[in-house]
């Protein structure tokens, strides 16, 4: 596959290159001569798809359910979300254990996503994590309650209820000082649990005074996994996962969270399953 990098989202070109270097059948080329492209935003995605290129679109560039609903997937063209979170090795392991039934019926998901920067938390930021919740539970939440804090809205906490016993707490912050992100995900099932968090995976640097934590990262393995799914879908002539429908679902939940924040009350999935309502 010849992959063109039109937009790289928050991931650097060097990281995409490093990932491609690990895949014998993928090369990075100029976008004009590519048979697949990585893009930011609806317009770029739809233009590429219309031109017959397979599309990897950054979910962070889809700001609302309206955006996601406008993503076009022409026949025989693969449109996939570059949802890097799903493909991180640690998260893949979580889902593998979940999918093979070892955890039993899911009960509780907890995610902390903390970043520096101070920008307001938008729907795309929330959808990035809410997509993981939808994916792990395999369905949309039936209840959404959320609160926002910070003068610039730089902190959002979302409380989800899933059909049956399922529940999730997700918080996203941009209030860390300049430096590294923090991520934590734990999943509790009826028969077992999984814990994937940065706290556990820290090394220590002693250079005087308090030791410094050195994050044991997962490198570009997540991008390699993502590109593996994308190329497999293209080669197999099948839809890739996650696709536009997953983006739409996650953004609907994010929109419900925004509505809950505005009203101070939980919102619930309507009987048709198409949208969320107060009450």
């Amino acid at each position: 596959m010849k992959l063109g990098l039109i937009g790289t989202g928050s991931t650097t070109v060097d990281d995409w290159q490093a990932a491609v270097d690990r895949l014998a059948h993928v090369t990075i080329v100029d976008a004009d001569s590519a048979d697949a492209v990585l893009v930011d935003g609806i317009d770029a995605a739809n233009q590429a798809a219309a031109a017959g290129q397979h599309v990897l679109v950054h979910p962070g560039s889809l700001a609302s359910p309206v955006d996601a609903g406008q993503l076009v997937s022409p026949e025989r063209i693969v449109v996939m979300l570059a949802a890097t979170g799903r493909f991180q090795p640690s998260i893949q392991e979580v889902q593998a254990v979940n999918a093979n039934g070892a955890l039993g019926p899911l009960g509780l998901l907890r995610i902390h996503r903390w970043m520096p920067g101070g920008r307001p938390i938008g729907m795309a930021d929330l959808a990035d994590q809410l997509d993981l919740a939808n994916w792990l539970f395999g369905t949309l939440p039936t209840e959404v309650y959320a609160v926002r804090r910070g003068e610039s809205g730089d902190y959002v906490h979302v409380h989800l209820g899933f059909p049956g016993d399922g529940m999730a707490l997700v918080d996203v912050a941009t209030t860390l000082p300049d430096g590294e992100d923090y991520y934590s995900l734990s999943l509790i099932g009826g028969d077992g649990s999984v814990y994937a968090d940065d706290h556990h995976n820290m090394h220590l640097l002693y250079a005087g005074g308090q030791p410094e934590a050195v994050h044991g990262g997962e490198g570009v393995a997540g991008l390699v996994n993502l590109l593996g799914e994308f190329t497999a879908a293209v080669d197999g002539g099948r839809a890739a996962v996650p696709g536009p429908a997953d983006a739409l679902a996650a953004l609907k939940v994010a929109e419900a969270a925004e509505r809950s924040i505005e009203t101070g009350e939980p919102v619930r999935l309507g009987e048709t399953g198409d949208g969320y309502e107060l009450g």
Binding site: P105, L108, H159, L169, P266
Partner: protein
């Protein structure tokens, strides 16, 4: 009751000890507190008397069937109450009326009206009250120090995961179609052997009521704000006893506090298979200028060896000075005539928060804390 000079030793009555006895055992760790008698009401059932007698025998102190008589005869200044949950507050009120300072096991009560009686009695008789808690575990002390030194700026969000990786009788779904529902009290009495009888009593209680005081006390201890609104999801996800008695064994709680602080709680008795030790207990705190991630279990030592019994903890907590620090704090409160960690008013506020969470879990709505 004779008063004790500052620095003197307090004579303590163990007023019912039907659970695993971590509270009276913790009290006697401090050299200023002596256990001198175990007592309970004479009309209690045989299993209560048997446990009280056993504890008295193990400690070489008398067991008296009659609380008021025991206190009068043994010159007691402190009552250590560790009965069934529904009796906690009534025993506390009676002991406070006799002028005793109180150390009480959790939960404060299964009814908020009973907690109100304790607040009134403690104030009326000017005695000190402490709910047993874990606020002085080494990791909590570190968290408090970092926050008080301004390490993360003003905290605005605090999240606690408080899972106990223990079983609690048969798993959910194991009851046959002709089997009767599990009797809560019988199950709790049976659970005494492995120390998982925290919910002992006639009235069934979920994990929120049994254990919620601990993580909610952490939140109160670290940020000091009062909870105003609560949204919760609750489930009987693991254990047949909880399902049969319509009480939670898994819950998520969102707390909106005064001053704009947000706190959340994940709590559950999630089964022994879910963690190699007691359970994952963590705190995540965000402040205006940073974040803090704390593992409640640390410091710990890892121990593995051939033929290690499966029930033996692999990771063992070290440097735990909780019992001494709690009782030192309580002794200081008695000496000073005020203060102390987790007093009656704060404990009542936490009980009200728990009740709001239980109510929200059933109503699906945001509940205001009473």
């Amino acid at each position: 009751m004779n008063s004790v000079e500052p620095g003197g030793v307090f004579r303590c009555a163990v007023v019912s000890v039907v659970k695993h006895a971590y509270v009276p055992n913790g009290v006697e760790v401090h050299p200023r507190f002596d256990l001198v008698v175990v007592c309970d009401d004479a009309d209690q059932p045989d299993w209560v008397h048997e446990r009280n007698q056993l504890y008295a025998d193990e400690h070489g102190i008398p067991y008296v069937r009659g609380i008021e008589e025991a206190i009068a005869e043994h010159d007691v200044q402190v009552a250590v109450v560790s009965s069934e949950a529904e009796r906690h507050c009534d025993l506390v009120v009676r002991c406070a009326a006799l002028g005793l300072h109180i150390v009480q096991d959790k939960p404060m009560s299964n009814r908020l009206s009973e907690c109100d009686r304790v607040v009134e009695a403690v104030a009326e008789h000017d005695v000190r009250f402490m709910m047993w808690n874990r606020n002085f575990l080494p990791a909590l002390n570190e968290a408090k120090r970092v926050i008080e030194e301004g390490g993360i700026g003003r905290p605005y969000a605090l999240h606690v995961d408080f899972y106990f990786a223990k079983d609690s009788g048969p798993p959910k779904g194991s009851r046959g179609p002709d089997d009767p529902p599990i009797n809560w009290l019988e199950r709790q009495i049976e659970a005494h052997s492995d120390g998982s009888d925290g919910g002992v009593g006639v009235d069934p209680m979920g994990e929120l009521k049994i254990e919620g005081i601990y993580p909610l006390a952490y939140i109160q201890h670290l940020v000091g704000s009062r909870v105003e609104r609560v949204f919760a999801r609750t489930a009987s996800h693991f254990h047949q006893a909880n399902l049969d008695n319509d009480v939670d064994d898994l819950a998520t709680v969102t707390l909106e506090m005064e001053n704009g602080v947000i706190a959340t709680l994940c709590i559950g008795r999630i089964g022994a298979a879910s963690h190699p030790d007691i359970g994952e207990i963590k705190l995540h705190v965000l402040g205006a200028t940073g974040g803090l991630v704390i593992s409640e279990a640390r410091p710990e030592v890892s121990v593995y060896y051939r033929n290690q019994p499966p029930q033996e903890f692999r990771h063992r907590r070290m440097g735990i000075d909780l019992d001494y620090q709690l009782m030192e704090d309580f002794a200081r409160a008695i000496d000073a005539g005020s203060g102390g960690v987790l007093d009656a008013v704060t404990s009542r506020e936490i009980a009200a928060t728990v009740q709001a969470a239980v109510d929200s879990g059933k109503s699906g709505r945001v509940e205001t804390v009473a």
